[in-house]
């Protein structure tokens, strides 16, 4: 038996823009008559890689790089256009926590429903039931419909079901972006345990800490092709060095028209808004990270809500950030637009800015240069 868990050969996936959406009979008839040319684009092109058994591998890349498409093909949700994949072992995916949960059902019923969605038998679910409940920490509410759960409880329960599955290969897509810090730590611990026990894990994440601490190797995707397969410690250097990111970006057909940053003592973020009127309580989030992928800071919508007032949907807004002195280097800004419940638009590391104030030979430790006053109290 080979020691390869996943072998991907010449994998490609093509999407036809426009024609792949649902249509009416009339559209089909008119297409047959007029032979419209479809616009095509390759979400993945000639992907090749092997993953050994027991290996934990990260997948990184910008929006639209093909990460999610790759996971969807591996988990059989969608089929490749060409190529071949060999998977040795039972595979399950954690693509979006809580999919398949029904709000009217109790926690207990949802565990059974979700477990069977992931291909578990009733006996299997029963044997893991106590552990799942225990890990999720929702014992007291296990017979309450999940519509009464807080979003944190919801996520905890869903993660627990998937994490306790008896599978050899686990695919994870950004699931750890949710939940509170304590639970995230618990999940990371669980994931670590999973890899320690010899399971093969594939993780898509933007968080360099997750990639660095949980995986040994990482695959960097860019516009559908593999840019690099590298030790996880070094991959972010390639990621951030891969192409010039300017301090300005324009988005087409998006709720944000453009984003621009300036840094001179303080950070200024200029955003040109184009939010559709049907978005309820839009709010904006930003995150600053350095060229190793460490997060320097972000606004947390729970505490510092950047709410866009009614009637300002089509305006330009400027956010001035009083920042501590940053060390010399290149920094990246990620932006989100969300309504009360979900993300509407996300663009990771879309613009960058340079900090040169401390000089190239800056030998400071850490992320910031502390500013301090010195006072002597003479006795």
């Amino acid at each position: 038996m080979s020691d390869i868990a996943i072998k991907v050969e010449d994998l490609s996936k093509k999407f036809s823009i426009g024609s792949n959406t649902h249509s009416t009979l009339r559209d089909t008839l008119s297409n047959v008559l007029s032979k419209q040319k479809k616009e095509e684009f390759w979400a993945l092109k000639n992907i090749n890689f092997d993953i050994k058994k027991g290996e934990a591998v990260g997948i990184i890349g910008r929006n639209g790089a093909g990460k999610s498409t790759l996971l969807k093909i591996l988990s059989k949700i969608t089929r490749p256009t060409s190529g071949r994949i060999e998977i040795n072992g039972r595979l399950s995916s954690l693509l979006e926590v809580g999919t398949g949960f029904h709000p009217e059902l109790t926690g207990r019923e949802n565990i059974f429903l979700n477990g069977s969605l992931l291909g578990m038998s009733k006996a299997e679910i029963k044997s893991k039931f106590d552990e799942i409940v225990d890990f999720s920490g929702v014992e007291k509410f296990i017979d309450t419909p999940v519509k009464h759960y807080s979003s944190g409880m919801y996520v905890r329960l869903a993660f627990a079901v998937a994490a306790y599955l008896n599978t050899e290969i686990l695919l994870v897509d950004e699931v750890l972006a949710v939940g509170d810090a304590e639970f995230q730590k618990k999940c990371l611990g669980k994931m670590d345990e999973v890899t320690q026990r010899g399971k093969t894990v594939l993780i898509v994440s933007h968080d360099s800490n997750i990639i660095k601490s949980l995986t040994n190797r990482a695959i960097l995707l860019n516009k559908g092709v593999i840019k690099s397969i590298e030790n996880s410690k070094n991959i972010f250097d390639v990621y951030y060095g891969q192409d010039e990111i300017s301090n300005y970006i324009r988005f087409d057909n998006a709720p944000l028209k453009s984003v621009q940053v300036h840094y001179v003592d303080r950070l200024e973020i200029e955003v040109d808004l184009n939010i559709p009127d049907n978005v309820d309580v839009p709010h904006f989030c930003f995150m600053i990270s350095n060229s190793s992928g460490d997060i320097i800071g972000a606004n947390n919508p729970k505490y510092e809500k950047l709410e866009i007032p009614v009637g300002e949907n089509q305006s330009k807004m400027t956010i001035s950030v009083d920042s501590p002195r940053l060390r010399y280097g290149k920094y990246f800004l990620s932006v989100w637009l969300a309504d009360g419940a979900k993300n509407i638009f996300v663009s990771r590391d879309c613009v960058s800015f340079d900090v040169t104030t401390s000089g190239k030979n800056d030998r400071h430790l850490g992320f910031i240069i502390p500013q301090f006053d010195l006072n002597f109290d003479t006795r």
């Binding site: 089909t28 591996l74 988990s75 949700i77 089929r79 060999e86 998977i87 009217e104 019923e109 291909g119």
Partner: protein
């Protein structure tokens, strides 16, 4: 250890039945979810389930029983109609629920892999609860009218199974078609409304002129409803044309499963 090969080049025309069997627990979980959710919406949900069939019963009993006074043999018209209607309602509910099930489950389909056919299949199980309740009402009425089911009652499960396969055949086909053509969302209710009269729910199949018979038996539910009543009351045994109906059911069922399998590959991309 399980081994999976995903090859863009090769593709079977038949679904992987072994995999569907492995996911059998999901079949019951989904059915249980549907039943729970329907009845969790308090007593209103329960009432709505029966309002439609009761409404049909009133209309049919009035038109066929009171106004047209159709011949129903020695069976009282009400009993006659309820028996036919219970099979018809199970079939039509299954047809429309299964037909809309894939479009209704799109968020799940886009995020988790499982054999998609389990979704329409599960509707056959959840529909059995309503059917069971109707059957209990029917038996209560039979006691009231002093009818004891004869030895033919052992054939009842067979006709139920035929109703199940007819409903699934149409439902699976419609669910796969509606992935690309949402128009089918409008077609199914039309078929159901027409079918109620094109099926001998409130009249006897023998009342249909001989010249229309071939056309009439194209509707697979004709044989099912007739057979259903025969097994309950021991009335006229089903016409031999019934085998023709059964053949249609299985041909459509096989086509539906194969077409569904074909669409399954691109379901997540199109929805």
């Amino acid at each position: 250890m399980e081994k999976t090969i995903i090859d863009a080049g090769s593709r079977s025309i038949l679904p992987n039945f072994g995999e569907v069997y492995r996911y059998r627990q999901l079949l019951f979980s989904l059915a249980w979810r549907d039943i729970r959710v329907k009845y969790a919406q308090t007593y209103i949900g329960l009432i709505w389930t029966f309002i439609n069939p009761i409404f049909n019963l009133i209309v049919l009993s009035f038109v066929f029983g009171v106004v047209a006074k159709v011949d129903t043999g020695e069976v009282p018209h009400l009993l006659f109609t309820i028996a036919g209607l219970s099979a018809w309602t199970y079939f039509s509910t299954l047809l429309s629920d299964a037909g809309s099930s894939i479009v209704g489950a799109q968020s799940m389909i886009k995020k988790i892999y499982f054999p998609r056919i389990v979704i329409p299949l599960s509707k056959a199980i959840s529909g059995l609860v309503d059917f069971g309740v109707t059957l209990i009402c029917l038996f209560a009425l039979m006691i009231y009218y002093g009818y004891a089911p004869g030895p033919y009652i052992i054939w009842l499960p067979l006709f139920l199974l035929l109703a199940l396969f007819s409903g699934l055949a149409g439902g699976i086909l419609a669910s796969a078609l509606s992935v690309r053509y949402r128009d089918f969302g409008f077609v199914i209710p039309m078929i159901v409304r027409l079918g109620l009269y094109a099926t001998p729910v409130a009249y006897q199949a023998s009342a249909v002129p001989e010249s229309y018979k071939t056309l009439f038996y194209l509707n697979p539910m004709v044989g099912v409803v007739e057979g259903f009543r025969w097994s309950l009351f021991g009335t006229n045994p089903p016409d031999p044309m019934m085998f023709y109906s059964i053949a249609i059911i299985f041909v459509v069922f096989i086509i539906a499963v194969m077409y569904f399998h074909k669409v399954e590959a691109t379901m997540a991309d199109i929805l």
